[in-house]
Symmetry: C2
Subunit: 335 residues, 2 copies
């Protein structure tokens, strides 16, 4: 009996050898139904892949890495689900590495990937990340890298994110429409591109409406919770206190609400609050908070899809891929 | 010049060779100061570990795995921080694997560890996990395994958890003290030990106070959010509706609050609510929710510490280690 090979499988199934080969490699180009037909016949006829192909396959760790600042944030925990939904279909493991916003940790993690532990990397950088050498080096070692959410402009690769500039603009316009004239903006590190873009959107809306941009109303918070609380309290205690606040980082919502409680500042009476947030508790806060919601699941899903395309198609160029998925304004009682 | 070895380092430093060896292996038994002295001299004298020792060391992946149901839950995202604090000190990577409450996924992940990808495993099982073969097999392959939070009684190894029975009892006693007579209990799968223990604690408090245990007030929720909402709405819509509710799973707080909003049920007037939760937003909900808070960070830290002890000391027996860290009741407006 002649050995069963891709050609004979293809003949049996009335498919092209290319389709059978791709189905055996679990390519995204092939439908689930066709894959099932191919795999079932391959099993029945006891198909053994030839050594060369099998060797190639074994080189793969069947694992992708997701490098994130943290998971105690709804955006990232939901984005992971989007990534895993794609990886699961492809039969890949997902490893999650946390940088805790520490650039040195990010560097060490990426360096470790060169040993071939993973086949591809999805990364959202720390807020300390300015240098790009560690990412460039990883790319030149042949590792496909996709940036999502917190991207770095200088790196040439696929980037998946939301429309941060427009979101900052829309959020500020909403506060202005609700009568705010003294608008404050709370952010994370300024080195982060997304923070800057949101802030630029906010500035543009203020300028268009001839509202003043007060330097001391633009506050750059840190990882130090006690200090953030103190700075927010000092902002909201001053005589000329803001009447609207745009919270560009989810976890800063909590100190803002707590400070308002402590100072007996009524939301939305004395202060209107809008936050970038995906927390499912937005609707049950006191009061329910108006939010800009990023499409976290879809961002994760799109980033993972691009990564797998580059793993499966040697001629697929990540550099050409830029995806922007819009955020959504949901108006609630806080404005 | 004779080669620098552990003995000569020890002589220089006036330490025993054993201490120097342990310091070079970054053992927890050696103080940070001594390690620093040893490493600094080793560097100065250009100490090169002998091939045998180095080979042994290289066998290690310097990586531990954390297997979790999900990260969109404050308990797990905080526990990870506790685990990472220990791993970082030891110079280890932490890989996070998510099971999404899927037993088959948990099985596949654990099976994959046998290839030596990681040196040790911390696991909190899925709510579907009843069978234990996958964990037993991993243990017999020589992999140290520590269970935390969601443990499995039948597995003989270190277990780190909170006092779930007492927490359920204390939470129910609190509702009774606030005048509740018809108490409902919302849980996850009954197969989970921790859910059962919390429920048994609740039952005991009801029995001691001669309050009836209504079968239809004990609701087992699922992963299906829409269905959970429906069941909670039906519970709170009935004529003989509960006057107190114990929410044993953090994420069920949101549908409870949303249903109360929809039905215009006042909390705490018509319904008193207490929840197992670590969410930092507990204090800013409408109304602020009374919580039972698990020591998540400490549980992660203790579990990781035990795992590293077993990696460092060949005679350390994980089986003898059982740690229970108590939860805390924080009373807020919802009761």
């Amino acid at each position: 009996m002649p050995a069963v090979d891709i050609r004979s499988l293809a003949k049996h199934l009335n498919l092209s050898p290319g389709t059978v080969s791709k189905a055996l490699k679990d390519s995204y180009e092939i439908s689930a139904e066709t894959k099932k037909r191919v795999l079932s016949l391959a099993k029945k006829l006891n198909y053994v892949p030839n050594a060369y192909a099998s060797g190639l396959r074994k080189k793969r760790s069947k694992t992708i890495a997701v490098v994130l600042p943290e998971v105690a944030d709804s955006f990232f925990s939901i984005a992971i689900n989007g990534i895993e939904s794609v990886a699961q279909q492809k039969g890949y493991h997902v490893l999650i590495y946390l940088t805790h916003e520490n650039f040195l940790k990010e560097k060490t993690i990426l360096n470790d990937f060169k040993s071939g532990r993973v086949d591809g990397v999805l990364i959202s950088v720390t807020r300390e990340t300015i240098a790009t050498k560690h990412i460039l080096e990883l790319q030149s070692s042949g590792m496909p890298v996709v940036l999502f959410d917190r991207i770095v402009d200088q790196i040439e690769t696929a980037k998946v994110r939301t429309n941060d500039f427009e979101s900052g603009y829309i959020a500020t316009q909403h506060l202005i429409k609700r009568g705010c004239k003294n608008i404050s903006y709370l952010s994370n590190s300024k080195s982060l591109g997304i923070t800057n873009e949101r802030m630029e959107g906010c500035r543009k809306a203020l300028e268009e409406n001839d509202l003043s941009i007060k330097k001391n109303f633009f506050i750059e918070c840190s990882n130090d919770e006690a200090n953030n609380y103190k700075r927010i309290k000092s902002l909201l205690s001053q005589k000329d206190c803001p009447d609207g606040i745009l919270v560009s980082i989810e976890k800063l919502t909590i100190p803002v609400y707590q400070v308002c409680n402590e100072l007996k500042l009524n939301i939305p009476g004395s202060l209107k609050v809008i936050g970038f947030s995906l927390s499912p508790s937005a609707s049950i806060l006191n009061p329910a908070i108006t939010t800009i919601t990023q499409p976290a699941y879809e961002i994760g899903e799109a980033a993972a899809t691009l990564l797998f395309k580059s793993l499966e198609k040697s001629n697929f160029d990540l550099k050409n891929e830029k995806i922007i998925l819009p955020s959504v304004l949901t108006i609630r009682s806080s404005t």
